[in-house]
Amino acid sequence: MKKVFGKPKSLSDKPFSYCPGCGHSIIHRLTAEVIDELGIQSKCIGVASVGCSVFSDAYFNFDFIQAAHGRAPAVATGVKRVRPDCVVLTHQGDGDLASIGAAEMLHSANRGENITVIFVNNAIYGMTGGQMAPTTLVGMKTTTSPMGRDVKGTGYPVRVCELLRELKGVAYLERTSVDDPKGVIKTRKALKKAFQAQLDGLGFSLVEVVSQCPTGWGMTPVEAVKWLGKDMKAYFPLGLFKDIRAEEPQEVAQ
């Protein structure tokens, strides 16, 4: 009997401290699988951010640096510019990337920094107890939108892939999900393409993974993946937004 599925080498043995059903660790495992497959473990430098993602470094067997909230793309820029031979990745949540880190996200993408940003979009601030995120859906109840998100005071949820795709510095941009096995397989493929874009020196790569936060959403894990499948995907369409290697310009269902 041969092991056909197990823990990848780049992933540490430490049991995850995330909530039951959380998508973060699925994404960690997929990242590690891709890093193993590409054979780049010792070249990788991860940038941990702030949120539930603050724990990311504990789960990987390669060098890591902890960044201030929102600043991971700037930190990654500093690392990659001095060590272009290393593979630099960030792991960020929706508050970290699209709220406090919006400028760093935009400008590192615009400059075409040769880094890979793994963006976990679960439409909530998990670590701090369930506050509204830039990607929180209209009407969604959170601890800072207790009556449901009202566009009058808070605007509409931010669609990061749609925002970034116009920037010339972006080489690869895809939105996937980890709520079901199909999504998990697509996420793994997207992560591999993103890392390959970095290895080929093509510019900025970002994979937005729509992910479940059962605790933040006040649901069981099974309820959460079902809600993601219906409500989140309706607002955040999955698909390839940009790949400069592709022959045809990419369009995603509007």
């Binding site: 390669f62 060098d63 930190v75 500093g78 690392v79 060590r83 290393c86 400028a103």
Partner: protein
């Protein structure tokens, strides 16, 4: 490139000195009165084979410096007061993570948007923290073009020696003036000297983690006490100051940077005129502060102190602490871009000596 003599603007002298000290990463953002530093780097850093980034903000710049430092390179940023305010979180992270980095604050009038004239009102920001948490930054105070060069090199060396940020606290005059300087021979900095902690190439060793977060109970306290032990070592070994005519003085002026340069002229004028009997203590390290030396000078109670600074008395508080109640500490303060003149200093010194209590002198009509 060998040692050479050049007429240089202060801002550019810092940049050139940094490159010659082996700095190979600079991230910055435009802000008056330090723009020539950023502009010089935009051309010369790439010529030197290093990396220049005009970041999207001062916040992004300090975080780029944090990331670049983790790879073992010598790294730098620069700004003026409002921009250094933005960098405070990043500076706290650098100290917490024990990363070396060098930066320059070319101080302008504040608070708020203030003006673009020179000031010394970022003393608290530099020496007392500015950012959050228990930490210190090594603060160097040049007062001439040559010191801009020499203290830049010293700043990089001390920063690496103690794995802690170091900064130059300059001002708009120092940044803008042109003086002849001797530039030292360049050094090549070997990143491999930081192999025991720098990131990259983790094959064959346990992985390295650069962080300032310590959540397990007791671990952050232990870490902070380790930082304190480091700071005590720096206080013991790295104090630098200049003393002029202190022994025979009735009034000892304490001043740094541009204010000290003007005070030096006042001391010389007083000497030529046969009085008053003035001396000068010029701290070159503002942290660590020359507390011990000032205490020694104050100990016999015979001297008065006059702090001359371009602020509302920020350094004066440290002089007050240092004299241990043994002497009167008066203040001649100029603020918001005002610059003291020699006559003003002489007048204030006479008044301070004659007064029973310490005095505070601000410009006429205020």
């Amino acid at each position: 490139m060998a040692e050479e003599r050049r007429l240089m603007k202060g801002n550019e002298a810092i940049a050139e000195a940094a490159i010659r000290a082996g700095c190979r990463f600079y991230a910055g953002y435009p802000i008056t009165p330090q723009n020539e530093l950023t502009e010089y780097m935009s051309l010369k850093m790439s010529e030197a084979g290093g990396v220049f980034v005009q970041a999207e903000s001062e916040v992004a710049a300090i975080n780029m410096v944090y990331g670049a430092s983790s790879t073992g390179a010598r790294v730098m940023t620069s700004s003026s007061g409002p921009g250094i305010s933005l960098k405070q979180e990043g500076i706290s992270y650098l100290c917490g993570a024990e990363l070396p980095a060098f930066y320059a604050n070319i101080v302008r009038g504040g608070p708020g948007l203030g003006n673009i004239a020179p000031a010394q009102s970022d003393y608290f920001q530099s020496v007392k923290g500015g950012g959050h948490g228990d930490y210190r930054v090594i603060v160097l105070a040049p007062s001439t073009g040559q010191e801009l060069v020499d203290l830049t090199r010293l700043g990089f060396d001390l920063s690496d020696k103690y794995s802690n940020p170091a900064m130059i606290l300059g001002d708009g005059i120092l940044g803008q003036m042109m003086e002849p300087v001797t530039l030292p021979e360049p050094v090549t900095f070997d990143m491999k000297t930081k192999d025991d902690w720098r990131l990259g190439d983790s094959a064959g060793r346990s992985r390295h983690m650069i962080t300032s977060v310590h959540l397990a109970p007791g671990t952050l306290e232990k870490h902070n006490i380790d930082l304190l032990k480091k700071y005590r070592k720096i206080e013991e070994k790295e104090v630098r100051y200049e003393a002029v005519g202190v022994e025979d003085a009735d009034v000892v002026i304490v001043a740094y940077g541009t204010a000290a340069r003007i005070a030096k002229s006042a001391v010389a004028m007083a000497k030529a005129a046969g009085g008053p009997k003035l001396g000068l203590i010029r701290p070159i390290t503002l942290w660590p502060f020359p507390t011990k030396f000032i205490a020694e000078v104050a100990a016999d109670g015979s001297k008065d102190f006059l702090v001359v600074e371009m602020s509302l008395g920020q350094m004066r508080e440290d002089v007050l602490l240092s004299v241990l109640g043994k002497a009167k500490v008066s203040l001649l303060g100029r603020t918001g871009g005002g610059i003291p003149e020699e006559e003003e200093i002489l007048e204030a010194a006479k008044k301070a000596r004659a007064s029973k209590e310490a005095i505070e002198v601000f410009p006429e009509g205020n």
